[in-house]
């Protein structure tokens, strides 16, 4: 592997500009490897000790036509000297494989006004006059801004190494980035080896050659370098995306059966589990449909250890009837909903937080259950352990609401220290004590011990029909009232065990921002900026949505105004026809208004991308006395 060793072509004589953070994007047509390049860059940066947050830029189709703005595919990596908790506001440096995908990013406002744009320049001299004209027009549009445009002959350079440079220039781009940001080349090489571990040695060596080519080209031609100083790594970290974290968390919780049906953006949890789960004594069952996936998980949970199912909005809707059954027969179940834009097929690859009310109220009849939303990728891991445990202890359905931002985002976090206590206990098939019934509800808490098949003396038939403690079908009045009360009571009991949430910032002030799910990093960054500007702003992030965390009313009272920030639709107060009475509000704000009787406002957007901290800051300012002027 001597050929694969990277040597520096020229002494480094270009001074690096120091930045506390920088945001980098690689954009291309689908299938050109921009995401692979970005993933490797992000992983290397994390391993060097930079704070990192990455976001996938995904077109809706697998193979959209080339050179169209809508088809932009790529990867954004925000790196910092300290921890990075969200994707930030805008890109500072972009590498683009054609000018059309770059235009898409420009038009979306994704690029900082002074961004550096490294762009493949072969299109300027393309054989096709239309392509040349498109290039020229794009250059005019981009030149109207303050960007620094750097044409790069990527494919022309790569031709020295490969016949089809379309398949290799991502490594050339990685080489350029490695030079610009002074990445540790040993780590880059290791990461390439890992990323292409299923490919041949030849491919690996070719990639290293291309990497070196890009690195040398940058050293020879660029007059700028950027330095984001990595912090020494003082604790054990792991780096992964949210769906991998959910999968690993499920493993750590000791669950052994995942039933699912493919749906974006949830499926990659099962891709991960499909690869490793059997080593842990678990299986992924790909069911014939979403309904069956729920049914298999419920059947498995009914007969043994808690099982789980994974889905996203449209699949979640299909599972509804089974979820009501699980609630009625008090079968523990964990359901992961990786939310995407809706309703219907909506935005399959894009983030949204609009399943909250459907999750809470979707089942006809009263079907109380638990809803937890992890706020970070680290929490995606730990939430599964809590979810399994709560499902089992409370004989309830626990829904875990993640979203596309967490699912595909990658960030380093403290390495979990696995504990055998996290895992489900082995099945206890001891005979059921005489007199114990199927639902021996404690009249105060509603809690009861599970009886599972195999236990002698516990035989009964569970039924979705209303039933009494002995699972006998309710033919007399009062039974349904009592059963409903017992199933509901469990939520209040769970809430009594939760601690009041911690306010980020001061415990009182002019404004409190409340969020849930993946927006935590962006909200807290916006709050930091507002506080630095002297504003009395704090935030609160909820993990439990059902039951709600306790003490909210008392916390809210200490602020002049409270509003939620959410990625779901709400009417703007000044929109036509909208009044205070008919305004459709953000989903969490609706729940909070109900629970606290506080006039909780909301600021919500459905842009099909994560919220930008700058946009949240604007919303904060607009709600401050005097419009938030310093």
């Amino acid at each position: 592997m001597t050929d694969a060793t990277v040597s520096l072509a020229a002494p480094i004589d270009v001074p690096a500009v120091g930045c506390t953070e920088h945001t980098i994007e690689i954009v291309s047509d689908a299938g050109e490897g921009a995401q692979k390049c970005g993933q490797i860059f992000g992983a290397v940066s994390a391993k060097m000790g930079n704070g990192v947050w990455t976001v996938e830029i995904i077109p809706a189709e697998i193979q959209p036509p080339p050179r169209v703005p809508d088809g932009a595919s790529g990867y954004r990596i925000r790196i910092g000297e300290g921890p990075i908790t969200n994707w930030g506001d805008a890109t500072n440096l972009a590498v683009a494989f054609n000018e059309q995908v770059l235009l898409a990013r420009h038009r979306l406002g994704a690029l900082a006004p002074d961004a550096i744009l490294l762009i493949e320049d072969k299109w300027a001299a393309d054989d096709d006059a239309d392509v040349r004209a498109a290039w020229d027009a794009a250059m005019v549009e981009l030149a109207a801004c303050n960007y620094r445009i750097v044409p790069v002959p990527m494919e022309a350079e790569c031709l020295a190494v490969v016949d089809n440079p379309r398949k290799g220039k991502n490594m050339f781009a990685l080489g350029m980035l490695a030079w610009i940001y002074q990445r540790d080349m040993d780590r880059v090489r290791d990461q390439i080896a890992y990323a292409f571990r299923k490919k041949s040695e030849t491919i690996f060596e070719q990639n290293i050659t291309l990497l070196k080519l890009g690195y040398d080209w940058a050293a020879d031609h660029l007059d700028f370098r950027i330095e984001v100083v990595p912090a020494p790594i003082t604790e054990a970290l792991v780096v992964m995306n949210g769906n991998e974290a959910l999968g690993l968390g499920a493993i750590a919780s000791g669950m052994e059966l995942c039933a699912m049906y493919p749906i974006t953006p949830a499926t990659s949890v099962s891709h991960y589990l499909g690869e490793v789960f059997e080593r842990f004594g678990g299986i992924v069952h790909q069911a014939e449909d979403e309904i069956a996936a729920a049914g298999v998980a419920i059947g498995a949970s009914y007969a043994g250890k808690v099982a789980f199912t994974i889905t996203s909005g449209p699949g979640f809707a299909l599972k509804t009837e089974f979820l009501g059954l699980a609630s009625m027969i008090e079968v523990p179940l964990v359901l992961i909903d990786v939310q995407r834009g809706g309703p219907s097929t909506g935005l399959p690859t894009k983030v949204e937080q609009s399943d909250l009310l459907a999750a809470l109220f979707g089942q006809p009849g009263d079907a109380p259950h638990v809803i937890i939303a992890p706020a970070t990728i680290e929490e995606c891991f730990h939430v599964m352990i809590a979810a399994r445990r709560i499902a089992e202890t409370f004989r309830t359905v626990v829904m875990v609401l993640s979203d596309a931002n967490l699912a595909t985002g990658v960030t380093p976090f403290r390495r979990p220290v696995p504990d055998a206590q996290w895992q489900a206990a082995p099945l206890d098939l001891a005979p059921v004590p005489s007199g114990q019934r199927a639902y021996d509800w404690n009249p105060v808490t509603g809690l009861s011990r599970r009886v599972i098949p195999g236990q002698a003396g516990g035989m009964h038939t569970v039924t979705g029909l209303s039933h009494d403690e002995g699972s006998k079908v309710a033919y007399s009045s009062g039974v349904h009232q009592r059963g409903s009360a017992m199933r509901s009571r469990k939520l209040a009991v769970l809430q009594s065990l939760l601690v009041a949430p911690t306010v980020y910032g001061d415990g009182d002030g002019d404004l409190l921002v409340v969020g849930w799910g993946s927006t935590k990093g962006a909200i807290e960054e916006a709050v930091d900026r507002a506080r630095q500007a002297g504003h009395r702003v704090s935030s609160l992030h909820l993990r439990f949505l059902s039951p709600l965390e306790p003490g909210l009313k008392q916390i809210f009272r200490r602020f002049q105004k409270v509003f939620t920030v959410e990625i779901n639709y709400s009417d703007e107060p000044d929109d036509p026809f909208i009044t205070d009475e008919n305004r459709r509000r953000g989903q969490l704000s609706l729940l909070l208004r109900n629970a606290t009787l506080v006039d909780v406002d909301c600021w919500t957007r459905v842009p099909g991308e994560p919220l930008r901290p700058g946009a949240i800051l604007d919303a904060i300012r607009a709600r401050l006395p005097g419009g938030g002027a310093p």
Binding site: G281, G299, R415, A456, H460, T461, T463
Partner: protein, 318 residues
């Protein structure tokens, strides 16, 4: 009972275990209408459970919604009375997670061939080791007389008062058309000895034993099977050493059709015959792969999982 001796597993009962009588499997008093064919199936099943000496705590009956899906309530085993059409996914989950349990599925024609038809096709293909009974009375009874997919064309109901618009769906042809189906049989509740023998053969089969049970609904669809009940000549008994053999039955049902259950093409032809009802095992192939065995994984202790989990975290270590 001497039926299908070649098929029956040897009981590995210990001498001192208590033996179960039929009455040991009785649950709540059945609330089906007098004359309902479900009573007959319940008796045959209780007889089967006693014959096989199945421990009630090791046995699970899973059903959907409908008259016949009340079945588990009337047994003393574990039961899962779930939702309409979805008995098979629940049974699949139980079987995958707990291969030590014996699983029986009871569905009506609405459950199996209409709202749950998708699950039916796939369950046949998974070929999990369980007995699946389709109690086919060709009508929706619990919801009071609506047309089902197996209702004969022209038969009047509340939803199709001018008569069912379409030819009835043939459950046997569907089942025999599914890749990896391993056992398909048909019997009738009004021939109790055949019903019992067929259920025993299905139970003895390693794989999914699908049994369509022709069943009268005295309220709404007794006319559907009336001719066959009254005239044994309309019934053809499938006979073969590897099928269901019921002594003395040939005295009543004189039409005997020699059929080797390993012959899938012949089974499909017989399933398609419309002027005669064939009772017996149409198809049986115990060599077909069983999903539960393909997917079986070695159990891991908590400590083994911790070791593997740390290795997995190493993969992601910074």
């Amino acid at each position: 009972m001497t039926a299908a001796c070649g098929l029956l597993p040897v009981l590995d009962q210990e001498e001192d275990t208590p033996s179960y009588e039929m009455s040991d499997y009785e649950g709540a008093r059945a609330r089906w209408c007098p004359g309902c064919g479900d009573h007959s199936v319940l008796t045959a099943v209780q007889r089967l459970l006693a014959a096989e000496q199945l421990k009630p705590e090791q046995t699970v009956f899973v059903s959907g919604i409908g008259c016949s899906s009340r079945f588990p309530h009337y047994l003393s085993t574990y039961g899962f009375h779930g939702i309409h059409g979805r008995a098979l996914p629940v049974a699949t989950g139980i079987r995958l997670h707990r291969p030590d349990l014996r699983v029986f599925v009871v569905m009506g024609d609405g459950d199996c061939t209409s709202i749950g038809a998708g699950h039916w096709v796939h369950a046949m293909r998974y070929n999990l080791d369980m007995v699946v009974m389709l109690l086919d009375n060709a009508i929706y009874g619990l919801t009071k007389n609506q047309t089902s997919p197996t209702t004969p064309q022209g038969f009047r109901s509340n939803t199709q008062p001018h008569g069912s618009w379409l030819p009835a769906l043939n459950p046997l042809s569907v089942a025999l058309g599914v890749t990896n189906a391993s056992f398909v049989a048909q019997t009738a509740e009004w021939v109790p000895s055949h019903l019992y023998a067929t259920l025993r053969a299905a139970y003895a089969h390693r794989g999914l034993g699908f049994v369509r049970i022709l069943q009268r609904c005295p309220m709404y669809s007794s006319a559907v099977y009336q001719a066959a009940v009254q005239d044994p000549a309309r019934i053809g008994l499938l006979v073969h050493d590897d099928g269901v053999v019921v002594p003395d039955l040939e005295k009543v049902y004189t039409t005997q059709v020699a059929h080797d259950p390993h012959d899938l093409d012949a089974a499909r032809r017989l399933a398609g015959v419309t002027d005669r009802i064939h009772l017996g095992v149409l198809f049986r192939d115990p060599s077909r792969p069983r999903y539960e065995e393909i997917r079986r994984v070695a159990p891991r202790t908590a400590e083994e999982r911790l070791v593997e989990l740390n290795l997995e975290l190493d993969r992601y270590a910074v």
